[in-house]
Amino acid sequence: MTEQAEQIPQATIEGDLEGPVSPPRDNGAIVFAAPWERRVFGIVLALCRDGRLPWEDFRQQLIAQIAADPDRPYWESWAAALEAVLSTAAALQRDEVDEREHTLLARPAGHDHRDDEHGHGHGHGHGHGH
């Protein structure tokens, strides 16, 4: 497990994680306010680690997304950058994501938050298997 984590091209990513587009931190640790934030962070790093997404491509897109909407919360820009870079690389098109989003929204009660948003907190029942 540790061995795999060490295969992340750390020299590049660690260097950028403290640069001008670095994630929010508290006491040195990266801060995630919601489960989707840690998820989208991990997806990008997983793609980079496997060599499917050059870190620099993502970083440039993140810089562009932050510049385009400086007041947008950091992790939303990060998520937008991921979608943009995947679309540019023709790995995943926006309409595919839209379609899947609608499918997920149509899940029966208990699997989404449409009907129970007042009943449960966030981050439960998304079925990520962790």
């Binding site: 931190r25 040195g28 989707w36 790093l45 793609l47 499917r52 995943l92 499918t103």
Partner: protein
């Protein structure tokens, strides 16, 4: 549906498609996030300090060979090859700076804070440590000596703060929660336990 729910579903849509296309493995995503949350940050150093507070033999090993001792807790790697632990005492307060760049015991403290790399901190911590520490919120009593350590690639210093009074009954985890990143750089002391 809250804005967070909307974002969560959008991200889930992206992830599920990437998984289906064989571009991402969700288990790998889990491991990477856990790695960044648990392995790369000052909590590592806090665990080392808490252990040194409670285990005199470990404390001796830590002060004798920091790199080897932190490896016992599973922390290490290329950036941690030269960790040197220095201990605060009632007589001496230690503080770390890297006057040349930003040498830092990465495996135990994570990435250095921005101010650590600033020209102001690097020069003033050497020229007028007591004054700068005061400005950063730490007044070191006049009776206590301030010792400034210049970190380098050959020696990346980790300060072991003094154990606060009234913590005899606390367990390792509670003790670690008192140890901030700043206290291990030496610009703060360990937190007092909340009664």
């Amino acid at each position: 549906m809250t804005a967070d729910d909307v974002r969560a579903i959008r991200v889930e849509a992206v992830e599920s498609l990437l998984v289906e296309k064989g571009l991402v493995d969700s288990a790998v995503v889990d491991r990477i996030v856990e790695h960044y949350e648990n392995n790369v940050g000052p909590l590592n150093g806090a665990k080392v300090v808490a252990r040194a507070w409670t285990d005199p033999a470990f404390r001796e090993r830590l002060l004798a060979n920091g790199t080897k001792a932190v490896a016992e807790l599973g922390f290490g790697g290329p950036e941690g090859s030269m960790i040197v632990a220095i201990e605060n005492t009632p007589e001496v307060h230690n503080v770390v700076v890297c006057t040349l760049c930003s040498c830092y015991p990465w495996p135990v403290l994570g990435l250095p804070p921005t101010w650590y790399k600033s020209a102001e901190y690097r020069s003033r911590m050497v020229a007028e440590p007591r004054k700068l520490l005061g400005e950063m919120g730490l007044d070191v009593p006049a009776t206590k000596k301030v010792r400034v350590w210049d970190s380098s690639a050959e020696a990346r210093y980790l300060v072991v703060p003094e154990r606060p009074a009234g913590t005899e009954a606390l367990g390792a985890e509670e003790l670690a929660s008192l140890v901030s990143r700043d206290s291990m750089i030496g610009v703060a002391v360990a937190k007092e336990p909340t009664p």
